[in-house]
């Protein structure tokens, strides 16, 4: 039926089941179309599927509650899949459990560190990327007031927060940052209200790390832009200008979950899967700005790249905690 090509990779290249390398991933409640890291991860696998037609088989399972992480992971493991991804910080404990219960199986996790001999853990240095967009904001604000909208006050988001703050301060010490944690990753109306209040207070650039809640930030910005106000949003995880357009998206703090998933999965296919911790920062191109940044003047980009080098060669140590 329609929609099955994303719904269900299982239908692609049927028949030679056995010869295939099977790679599955388990999403959290968001599902593979959360416009965020789940989607990004799934895109990674789909790309792999495309590149290695006939060699691999990919599929995902969406969890409807935290309680389902383990059964879903187990579902792949039990079905003898070669690699099973757990996507998201919250899945750490569960991947660990399943890994210990099935020592022969191979698993991988995004955003959390699981030390088990059969698990590859991929984490990102969000703070490094956030630092760079902080620099952009710091240099480009006209009001010296910058907003940060966070989903929840949890470790991952704290890294965005800390990096961003450091970046702004580094580029523009007298800029003021207004923080708003909405308490949810799925409440655009809260994001909208937060943005509205911030813009009312003279903020002109908002960086959001709030998943779908951030959509509300973009919508408020769009409304203001249409009303002739000069406001910007800095997107997160993916290049959100693709969704929300260049007229309000200043830039985005990309977190290349897709590349990470692709890389590790590819290694598995090539028989080079190595368990352990993989940390992806600026150096590894795991985080950073999009290639194209039409809204950022050259001089600013210049500065950004300077900072980027400094971070890469360790001159600057970006804090990862608030």
């Amino acid at each position: 039926g329609c929609g099955t090509d994303t719904e269900n990779g299982a239908e692609n290249n049927q028949g030679t089941e056995e010869s295939l390398v099977k790679i599955g991933m388990v999403t959290d409640v968001g599902g593979v179309n959360d416009n965020s890291f789940n989607q990004s991860a799934w895109e990674g696998l789909q790309l792999l599927d495309k590149d290695l037609k006939g060699e691999v088989k990919v599929d995902f399972a969406q969890s409807t509650s935290d309680a389902e992480y383990i059964p879903n992971l187990t579902q792949f493991v039990k079905a003898g899949w070669d690699l099973t991804w757990g996507i998201g910080f919250l899945m750490g404990d569960h991947v660990k459990t399943v890994a210990e219960q099935n020592p022969e199986a191979k698993l991988a996790i995004i955003d959390a560190v699981v030390d088990a001999p059969n698990v590859a853990s991929v984490t990102f240095k969000e703070h490094e990327g956030s630092f760079l967009v902080g620099v952009v904001a710091g240099l480009m604000t006209k009001t010296d007031k910058i907003g940060f909208v966070g989903g929840m006050d949890i470790p991952v988001i704290a890294r965005f927060d800390a990096g961003f703050t450091a970046g702004v301060k580094a580029a523009n010490p007298d800029a003021k940052i207004i923080y708003n944690y909405t308490g949810a990753f799925d409440k655009p109306d809260l994001g909208k209200a937060a943005a509205a209040t911030m813009y009312d207070q003279g903020v002109d650039i908002i960086f959001h790390a709030a998943g779908a809640t951030g959509d509300g930030v973009f919508n408020e910005a769009k409304a203001r832009k249409d009303a002739g106000q000069d406001v910007w949003v800095i997107g997160v995880d993916k290049d959100q200008s693709i969704t929300f357009g260049d007229d309000i998206t200043l830039t985005s703090m990309m977190k290349r979950v897709d590349q990470a998933v692709y890389r590790v999965s590819k290694e598995l296919v090539d028989g080079e899967f190595k368990p352990g911790l993989i940390q992806l920062g600026l150096k590894e191109n795991g985080v950073g700005l999009p290639a194209e940044n039409p809204n950022i003047p050259a001089d600013v980009l210049e500065k950004v790249n300077e900072f980027k080098q400094k971070i890469i060669n360790g001159e600057i140590e970006v804090p990862s905690e608030k």
Partner: protein, 321 residues
């Protein structure tokens, strides 16, 4: 920034929040005044939000971006809500089903069906495409130029104006017209209405269908002003808050207006408090609790009892006692 300025901004944001709640609660009003409990408001809002998002998207594409497309989406959403509410009407009015059970069923159905359809329509995507054209705020000529007041009350989304107008219309209809008198009588004492030659079933059907219309408007207003798309998170609990607003407002349009605004303020307050860094003194989680705690306090403190329509929730079977 001046206090007046802050207040006017607060009001301005409050209205955005309140709009959907007021609309949906008005829907609940018509259905419950006719004696049909309606906890399906959530589901009806979902249907409204979904339909408006999908229709607006495709219309907008075919029109190549026209300010009219959200309106078309809005209207179709109303129709969808009306049709969906029919299920509740048939179950409760024609088959004497328990109103709550039917309502719960509809809430599940709405969420399941809309997300399912979204996936089918948008190739498995969990949310509709982001809308390019949505409602924009209207500035009422002259009025919107009044300092502070102008921004607070006369710069708002068309749906907000609509909501306020509908509050008055609802009052007029329910308390000033024969239709209203009959609708309320059916909710209070259907048998009496019957002996007065009023078609009880028809009245209840109309009541429920109106709830579909209004709740759908509520849902659509969120999709077309706040989220610019539809996903399983677009409506998450607003329907139940609207139910609370209905009861809080004592089954009365102006009560609903008040309760709706109250909620809006409480919500808008919590982002304002963060901007002013009260989080230094009050843990953010407590700020999140604010709207809900306030509601309980207000209800317990001032409002006290709200008396629902007498015959609410009771199936009416012609010729029984």
């Amino acid at each position: 920034m001046s206090w007046l300025g802050i207040l006017s901004d607060l009001m301005h944001n409050t209205i955005v929040f309140s709009t959907a709640l007021i609309l949906a609660a008005l829907g609940g009003l018509f259905s419950e005044r006719s004696g049909i409990v309606n906890i399906a408001l959530e589901g009806l809002m979902i249907v409204g939000a979904f339909t408006s998002a999908v229709v607006t998207h495709f219309v907008d594409q075919s029109l190549g971006g026209s300010p009219w497309s959200p309106w078309i989406g809005f209207l179709v959403a109303i129709v969808a809500g009306l049709l969906f509410s029919l299920i509740h009407a048939v179950a409760t009015v024609s088959f004497n089903s328990d109103h709550v059970v039917s309502g719960v069923a509809l809430n599940f159905l709405a969420l399941g069906a809309t997300v399912y359809l979204t996936k089918i329509i948008f190739n498995g995507a969990g949310q509709t495409k982001t809308l390019q054209t949505v409602f924009t705020k209207w500035e009422i000529p002259y009025l919107s130029d009044i300092p502070y007041i102008g921004k607070a009350f006369f710069t708002a989304y068309p749906t907000s104006y609509l909501a306020i107008i509908l509050v008055f219309v609802s009052y007029y209809v329910l308390w000033k017209t024969p239709f209203g008198l009959r609708l309320r009588s059916v909710g209070e004492h259907p048998k009496a209405s019957d002996t007065m030659g009023i078609n009880v079933y028809k009245m209840k059907y109309i009541g429920v269908m109106l709830s579909g219309v209004f709740a759908a408007m509520g849902g659509a207003s969120i999709a077309l002003t706040t989220t610019s798309n539809f996903s399983h998170t677009t409506i998450s609990g607003q329907g139940f808050i609207a139910l609370a607003v209905l009861i809080f407002g004592k089954w009365n349009p102006f009560g609903i207006l008040g309760a709706g605004l109250f909620f809006g303020i409480a919500q808008a307050l919590n982002s304002l408090m963060q901007v002013f860094e009260l989080t230094k003194y009050v843990p953010v989680d407590f700020i999140f609790m604010l709207p809900y705690v306030l509601t309980i306090l207000v209800l317990a403190g001032l409002i006290g009892k709200a008396i629902p329509p007498k015959a609410i929730g009771k199936p009416y079977v012609k010729g029984s006692r």
